[in-house]
């Protein structure tokens, strides 16, 4: 101890000094405590509501829940589009720290192909932010188990089980049914414009084609919500509230998938299409375009290689020939033209003319030829249709004039959309003076009219359009919009959609319908000269129809001139329109086959197969009109 120093210290004054400083220090502490408390008061009392809201915002997430997409059945209750549970490997790119490294190690783990990786990278570019991107679809159970064991190494990558669309009939229905595929940026933009983006918040796929696209709003349903508590990793701790989604409607189509299969088989090897319609209500029984392709490829994201193959195929499988193929109607429109001639009085039932095989106009050097070189001899309107005499119709067209033809054929629906419940449709072309002026800046020539008389020249139609016109014909002017959708199920009860009827065509002389329909009967049933008599020999039902053989270079689809295929493309298109039973029509069929040859030899037999199947199975009650 150094006692000396202590003894001389003034202990009292030092103690007082220390006491003063202590008081000051305590005052300082009090001030600091007040500062702390006022700040905490500000946070906890003044700003309480704000922070409470932010705290809830932290922990409560509202997650959309995707509705189950409606199923699609055929008219007999066969399932055409179903939802299957599948496992897929999905990546949320924003949550993966090192994407390249993860991909590389996953490639080894799950033996992903280079194509898988490059497709993934392609999809990555077009994907919405913070949405999972598919890395590998349809994982096997082994792959699921393998990945699950290593999951912890791959944050942001997970195996997701979800319902995926599947089309059990594959390419039999592609053009008609369409398919669903991943929602892309363009779809998203459209959804935004339609105010539907919220409804699709949890949805991965959207209808891209066919019925899936057209009836998207019915099939999709209403999104549900799940209010969940999440932790800082975004992992769900518990569900606070659940508002279930409303599933989409289950749709029933007018289509008979087995009839569709019959058509598919009979069109193998051809480019062509068949449409079958119930004339009593416009219901589409079948609509098939060959060649077709597997729609299931698109559901999981088609590989670019496979897509390129489809895109570049010379047979153009992606086109729906039944609604988008534009063909000259050729002789199949002779009944329509005959009806017009009769109605205008240009011809009568008794009008006869002698066909020598050529038709000549005054002052025109070049004659128009009949398909039968030596002519059909004496013909009236009935026989002209039955034997498909060209000369009679050259004359009829000449006398009727393009304006009348254009006007009447437009009423039959030529040159316009049919209004079918598909977006993939072409209006084709019904030529007129105004159209030619606008299109080519040329006047209408009389020669053009004469070719129109046999359904050639600038006149094009789609097989569906043709079928619609035949429906009008057999209904004697009553017009229906072709409809694929038959109705939808609510609680296992079918709610049928009403047929869409248009303003009917009325004739001054309704008997004219009978004349034309009689002639179509003769085409099939006249044992001597009916052009379809061979094809429909010994049927159990009575049908009527009209053949057509169109001279074309190719279908009018802006094809490039291709030397290798020129021979094939020079061949005629085979066409047929028909209906049955003759006295009370239940089915209208049109067949269009590209570069297949004659309508009577190629197209009519296929129409027969369709009708044969129809009548053979009719007894099963499959085709009740309502």
């Amino acid at each position: 101890m150094p006692p000396k120093r202590i003894t001389i210290r003034d202990h009292t004054s030092e103690a007082n000094l220390f006491a003063r400083r202590t008081v000051i220090a305590l005052l300082g502490i009090a001030a600091l405590i007040v500062t702390l408390v006022s700040n905490l008061y500000y946070l906890q009392v003044t700003k309480y509501t704000d922070y409470q809201t932010r705290s809830n915002g932290n922990r409560i997430k509202v997650l959309p829940v995707a509705p189950n997409r409606g199923l699609i059945y055929d008219r007999n209750g066969l399932l055409l589009a179903e939802n299957r549970p599948t496992f897929s490997l999905e990546v949320i790119p924003e949550q993966v720290a090192n994407l390249d490294a993860s991909l590389e190690s996953l490639q080894q783990l799950l033996s992903l192909s280079d194509d898988d990786i490059s497709d993934f990278r392609d999809e990555l570019k077009s994907q919405r932010r913070f949405r999972p991107v598919n890395l590998k679809a349809r994982l096997s159970h082994e792959e699921v188990a393998l990945f699950s064991a290593h999951q912890h190494k791959y944050p942001g990558i997970s195996v997701e089980a979800r319902l995926t669309r599947h089309y059990p009939y594959g390419d039999t229905l592609t053009h008609l049914l369409g398919y669903v595929s991943r929602i892309n940026k363009k779809d998203l933009q459209k959804l935004n414009e339609a105010g539907q983006a919220d409804n699709y918040a949890a949805t991965y796929n959207i209808g891209k084609l066919g019925v899936e696209k057209f009836h998207e709003s019915k099939l999709h349903g209403q999104v549900g919500y799940q209010e969940v508590e999440v932790n800082n990793q975004g992992r769900i701790i518990r569900t606070l509230k659940f508002q279930p989604p409303v599933p989409g409607d289950d749709l029933v189509l007018n289509v008979d998938v087995r009839l569709q299969q019959v058509i598919q088989q009979s069109l193998q090897g051809y480019r062509g299409s068949v449409v079958a319609i119930d004339p009593r209500n416009g219901g589409v029984l079948a609509l098939y375009s060959n060649p077709s392709y597997n729609p299931n490829l698109f559901v999981h994201g088609i590989s670019s290689k496979e897509y390129q193959k489809l895109l570049q195929s010379r047979d153009r499988p992606l086109i729906n020939r039944a609604t988008q193929g534009q063909y000259p109607p050729a002789s199949t429109v002779k009944p329509h033209l005959a009806l017009l001639g009769l109605e205008l009085g240009v011809i009568t039932e008794e009008t006869r003319m002698f066909d020598r095989g050529t038709y000549k106009l005054k002052n025109v050097e070049r004659p128009w030829r009949d398909w039968k070189k030596w002519g059909h001899g004496w013909v009236d309107v009935r026989k002209s249709i039955e034997v498909s005499c060209d000369v009679f119709f050259y004359d009829l067209a000449y006398k009727t004039g393009i304006d009348n033809i254009s006007d009447m054929m437009s009423q039959f629906g030529f040159g316009d959309y049919t209004g079918i419940d598909l977006y993939e449709e072409s209006a084709a072309n019904m030529p007129s003076r105004g159209w030619k002026r606008a299109r080519y800046n040329e006047p209408w020539y009389i020669g053009d009219t004469i070719s129109v008389g046999i359904g050639q020249s600038y006149w094009t139609t789609t097989p569906l359009q043709l079928a619609k016109s035949v429906t009008t014909l057999v209904n004697r002017g009553v017009r229906f919009v072709p409809q694929i959708l038959r109705g939808h199920y609510i609680d296992n009860k079918l709610h049928q959609a009403a047929p869409k009827e248009l303003q009917p065509i009325t004739l001054n002389s309704p008997r004219n319908w009978q004349v034309v329909l009689d002639a179509m009967y003769g085409t099939v049933n006249n044992p001597e000269h009916g052009t379809a008599r061979h094809a429909f020999k010994d049927t159990s039902y009575t049908s009527a129809g009209k053949t057509g053989t169109a001279q074309v270079i190719s279908i009018a689809m802006d094809e490039e001139y291709d030397e290798e295929t020129i021979a094939d493309h020079h061949k005629d298109n085979a066409m047929y329109i028909g209906y049955a039973p003759y006295d009370a029509p239940e089915i209208v069929v049109t067949v269009a086959m590209e570069n297949a040859g004659g309508g009577s030899s190629q197209a009519a037999p296929i129409a027969r197969k369709v009708m044969d199947y129809y009548f053979a199975n009719k007894e099963n009650g499959n085709y009740a009109a309502q």
Partner: protein, 372 residues
Amino acid sequence: MLRSKLEANPNSIWQRMHIDLPLLLGLLLLMGTGLVVIYSAGGKDMDLIIRQGIRLVVALGVMILLAQIPPLAYRRLSIHFYVIGVLMLVAVLLVGTVGKGAQRWLDLGFMQFQPSEVMKLAVPMMVAWYISRFNLPPRILHIVAGFGLMAVPTLLVAKQPDLGTSLLLASAGLFVLFLAGTSWKIIGTIAALGSAFAPIMWMFLMKDYQKQRVLTFLNPESDPLGAGYHIIQSKIAIGSGGIPGKGWLQGTQSQLEFLPERHTDFIFSVFSEEFGFTGIVLLLTLYAFIVVRGMIIAMRAQEAYSKLLAGSITLTFFIYVFVNMGMVSGLLPVVGVPLPLISYGGTSMVTLLAGFGILMGIGTQKRLLSRE
């Protein structure tokens, strides 16, 4: 008056064990609160509670042990502690173990040792020893020398870098000088010099992550998912507690792990979320009680060294509280200072209770002194 009260019961069992009962009760209450909050913040992990419990027992043992040592013994040993501590700090900078981006530990083979913790006691002891050798109030020369004794370890620790601890070292030294009666003129000059020093520190001494912390503190919303995340989440936790709090184990910010460092530096946010403003007022009252009790002990000490040391230990304890609460509630930048006796963690707990042990020794050993 006070003395007479104490001397009325000079031979009580607590007095003989050199334990200040009010202080002990206050500390135990805090520790108990700490365990309760750690249980919640640590996700009901009993292991955590057991480990912390063991630390508390060890630290209390150290406290009681140190309380038996007479203050004069500390005074003799002050210089030794200090010199050894500074040497170890230099050693840390040369051969220390790196952890969390800082060089703070000495690897002694059987344990990791943090010399800066020793300095938390060695600095006030040394400065108090030096200043108390002369008459008070100290003269300018002694103040400058005392300041230097504080500054050397402070800078060494800041260099590690450990901003929180160096702040506490500086506080401990400065409190001794303040309590010793340094004139206001000199305090003003030091404050002015300090503010002049700040830009120099910013430019040359602070590491990028420290600058980032300061910038984040100034505007946490500028980077809500990056550096500002912690402080924003902490403010949300505190604010959403409201007056009554969300209830024990019911704090969503902590239970769902939105809060960082929940059972260590940010434990006050958990406390505030679950116990609300009511809990905060009670907790601050408890801290204030301990501080007041500590200052009473300091005032009663008869000898300058003991007065200064006890005062500095008590005031530095409050600095812990203020800096920790200030940083988690957005008043101060985030420097790594735990909430004393509540935050989970070993080293600082032992140091703190060692300090209280010395304090109790000072408070209960008057008789030895008054013998003179």
